[in-house]
């Protein structure tokens, strides 16, 4: 990992051809033979030109591909995405292309995944990926939407769940070392601007600064691990109103969470969390 991290250039925007890309056949050989996930070729795939991408995709139609999405060689290296699980609405295997009504092969899932991840990571316009993966605006928008829904459906229960007793204990220990026993994390709200807010909802969603948006409430620990997220409160609300309607607060005040029996000792007095 570390070796790879140093080896890649800072910027891999589509317009800038990276000079030291390996030739595509060599990448294919490594991709075919290596058993453990060899991240190099796939990351190079994202670095190389659209032509290279096409070569790789066309040769590997039938393989279950594991793509590694990497932004500026540093961000999502951790995210492995198996394109064979790409949500597809056809009856055929989801790792292959769909066939439309006229019998033409549609875009490969890998193309769509790359475009969707570029959409997520760069926040670029949906028709911007056309230069890179040659997909139309509507295809990219649809693919992004599907991918987002897919991520939430499949990983929400793994990565965005409430902490259980063990994790809670560890988190509280770490914060207690820093001087706050009994503290589970830091909570804050921020506004996420909403460009397409309908006019009829502008009154509720207009924040105090005049822009329309929703409030995002998150709780995280020192590693920036998010263990509570509450999105979608109208931007008009201030932090305390958002907190009052967040599921976390409702659970705490109704006695559903945190788990019973968590104790903390402050200044010689031992308390139990409510």
């Amino acid at each position: 990992m570390k070796q790879l991290a140093g080896a890649f250039p800072q910027d891999q925007l589509a317009g800038r051809r990276v000079q030291s890309v390996q030739p595509v056949p060599a990448l294919l050989g490594r991709l075919l033979t290596d058993q453990p996930p060899n991240l190099g070729p796939l990351r190079a795939l994202l670095r190389c030109s659209p032509l290279g991408l096409y070569g790789l995709v066309s040769c590997h139609r039938r393989l279950p591909l594991t793509t590694v999405i990497s932004r500026r060689a540093s961000v999502c290296r951790a995210v492995y995405f198996d394109a064979s699980t790409w949500p597809s609405r056809t009856s055929r295997s989801s790792s292959s292309e769909r066939i439309n009504a006229t019998g033409r092969l549609q875009a490969h899932p890998l193309q769509k995944v790359v475009a969707a991840f570029r959409f997520i990571a760069y926040g670029e316009a949906a028709d911007r990926s056309d230069e890179y993966v040659r997909l139309s605006r509507s295809t990219v928008a649809q693919a992004t939407k599907l991918l987002l829904e897919f991520i939430v459906r499949r990983w929400e229960m793994t990565y965005l769940r409430r902490s259980n007793q063990l994790e809670l204990k560890k988190m509280m220990e770490r914060i207690a070392e820093r001087g706050f026993p009994g503290c589970m994390g830091s909570l804050d709200c921020t506004h996420w601007e909403w460009h397409q807010c309908p006019t009829c909802m502008a009154g509720a969603y207009q924040s105090r600064k005049g822009s329309r948006g929703v409030v995002v409430e998150a709780v995280c620990d020192a590693d920036l691990w998010i263990w509570h997220l509450f999105v979608g409160a109208p931007g008009r609300l201030n932090d305390i109103y958002v907190l009052n309607q967040s599921p976390l607060y409702l659970d705490v005040t109704a006695g559903r969470w945190p788990p019973r029996g968590v104790t903390l000792t402050v200044n010689g007095i031992t308390r139990t969390l409510p």
Partner: protein, 219 residues
């Protein structure tokens, strides 16, 4: 407004801990620019989905990398050591499971959790074991304390919990205790956040005004 030295110390430390979540929003938006730019979807539901997905991806990144974080390495001698080692084991094995690509990935992840027999509850059914899935039998899913409808302890239980969490006197007491706690350990707790003493501060502390005056004359 913190007036006493104790309260000021407490406030300073609380600022330092509260900073985490401020960092979170910065890091999240830098990682995924879709959360930085104004949302371009037409429904709140889609906005929620988007932000949840982004946070999911962010958590995956954190999970894969947190062994290298400075705060973890700094505290590696303490209680975090075992935890860090556990995550370290899980990372590559999870990666290998993802590399096999097939349905075998699930089994690999479960075995790695050190729970070969039980094979803990995996959320989301069959293929749901993520590349770095911490959920195993050793670390079970949380069961929320069930509050049925109508609640088992009656509404009294809920009102009790409500009163307990909203108890103002208890809140004041806890804050006073925390303040005292922080104050007693202040040199140790605040050490990471104190700027190294500059020459000016040193002079103020160690030289009386008259001596400083003479020093300024000589220099």
């Amino acid at each position: 407004m913190p007036m006493t030295d104790e309260a000021k110390t407490f406030n300073r430390l609380q600022e330092a801990i509260r900073k985490d979540v401020e960092r979170l929003f910065g890091v999240l938006t830098k990682r995924f620019h879709i959360a930085l730019h104004p949302g371009r979807y037409c429904s709140v539901k889609q906005l929620i989905t988007t932000h949840k997905a982004v946070s999911n991806l962010h958590n995956m990144c954190v999970e894969a990398r947190r062994d290298g974080f400075l705060s973890r390495r700094r505290g590696a001698g303490g209680t975090n050591d075992g935890e860090g080692a556990g995550n370290d084991d899980e990372g590559p094995a999870g990666a290998a499971a993802a590399g096999t690509g097939g349905p075998d990935g699930n089994d690999g992840g479960a075995d790695d959790g050190g729970a070969a027999a039980a094979g803990g509850p995996v959320p989301g059914g069959g293929g749901a074991a993520g590349p770095a899935d911490t959920v195993g039998a050793a670390n079970p899913l949380l069961q929320l304390n069930a509050v049925g409808q109508p609640p088992a302890g009656g509404m009294v239980a809920i009102f009790d919990a409500w009163g307990e969490t909203r108890n103002r006197a208890e809140h004041e007491q806890l804050r006073a205790d925390l303040t005292a706690h922080v104050w007693s350990d202040r040199s140790e707790l605040l050490a990471p956040y104190v700027v190294k003493s500059s020459s000016m501060v040193t002079q103020r502390l160690f030289f009386p005004p008259l001596a400083r005056f003479f020093l300024s004359l000589t220099s």
